[in-house]
């Protein structure tokens, strides 16, 4: 009888122990799952102490001159092409209105940004006709604004075909007031058989905070 009671007691302890193991295993599993699901999402997290002042990062780029518009015109009679250039501010062999400023883009935020630019169209899509040309030239409007790492092939410091995919121009475009603005000039060659009518393209700038 005594032996039977002892066995029953041991069985009860065994059941309790098994339940404890299951509960403990579940707790460890939940902790592990929580940890591995949170850690990859952490970009920055506070490890020690507390902060009583937070300076928010604010990225804002803005085309302070957001339009290049040569108006209406045509290739002069007797000429095969007209040349429109915002950098020199001239129109040659055509009667469009000269544009003396290109686009101006400023970083108005409080962080440096990686600046990506893209055009919506190629020369053929924008102008049409035989051998049209459509190029941009990007440069600092304020010295030291754009830290360029890719060279003039993308248009920084020289004429280049605008990219229809987003490419990095400045890394970074700085935010300090005295050095936070770039200028984008355009050079368009309009052939005599160019597509008639209103022609336009959209330039898209994307600034992503570097920190």
């Amino acid at each position: 009888m005594l032996n039977k009671n002892k066995m029953a007691e041991e069985n009860s302890v065994m059941v309790v122990a098994v339940l404890a193991v299951i509960a403990s295993l579940a707790a460890a599993g939940i902790s592990y799952y929580s940890a591995i699901s949170v850690v990859p999402k952490i970009v920055g997290y506070q490890v020690y102490g507390s902060t009583n002042l937070t300076v928010e990062s604010f990225a804002m780029i803005n085309f302070t001159d957001s339009s290049v518009n040569w108006g209406s015109g045509k290739v002069n009679i007797g000429k095969t092409k007209a040349y429109l250039d915002t950098r020199s501010g001239t129109v040659t062999d055509g009667n469009w209105t000269a544009e003396t400023t290109g686009l101006m883009l400023e970083n108005l935020g409080n962080v440096n940004v990686t600046l990506n630019l893209s055009a919506g169209k190629t020369a053929a899509q924008f102008i049409g006709g035989t051998n049209p040309a459509y190029k941009w030239w990007i440069r600092d409007n304020e010295t030291g604004s754009c830290i360029n790492v890719t060279g003039p092939s993308n248009g920084f410091g020289g004429w280049a075909d605008p990219s229809t995919t987003s490419i990095t121009i400045c890394n970074p475009l700085r935010f300090l007031i005295a050095s936070n603005e770039i200028r984008i000039d355009f050079n368009v060659t309009v052939p005599e058989d160019a597509t008639k009518g209103a022609r336009s393209d959209t330039i898209t700038a994307i600034g992503i905070a570097t920190t």
Binding site: A17, V18, I42, V47, I61, V68, S200, T202
Partner: protein, 73 residues
Amino acid sequence: MDTKKVITTLFVLVIIFSLLSITLNLLYGGKTIEVVSKPKSVDKAQVGLFIEGRETGVAVTGNSISNVGLYVE
């Protein structure tokens, strides 16, 4: 199988899993986690012109008619 050994083993497992759980909670639990996404800004600009049709016609770039003559009696 000795019941005592089984029970002892089970409790050792309980202790191990509990310690593991405590460790994970100490490492990652109870912290203020701030997920920081990088601020982003987008702006657009326009480049455009209107291309007119050219007038049709003939351009006269030069014209010259000369008569050279004499009368011989």
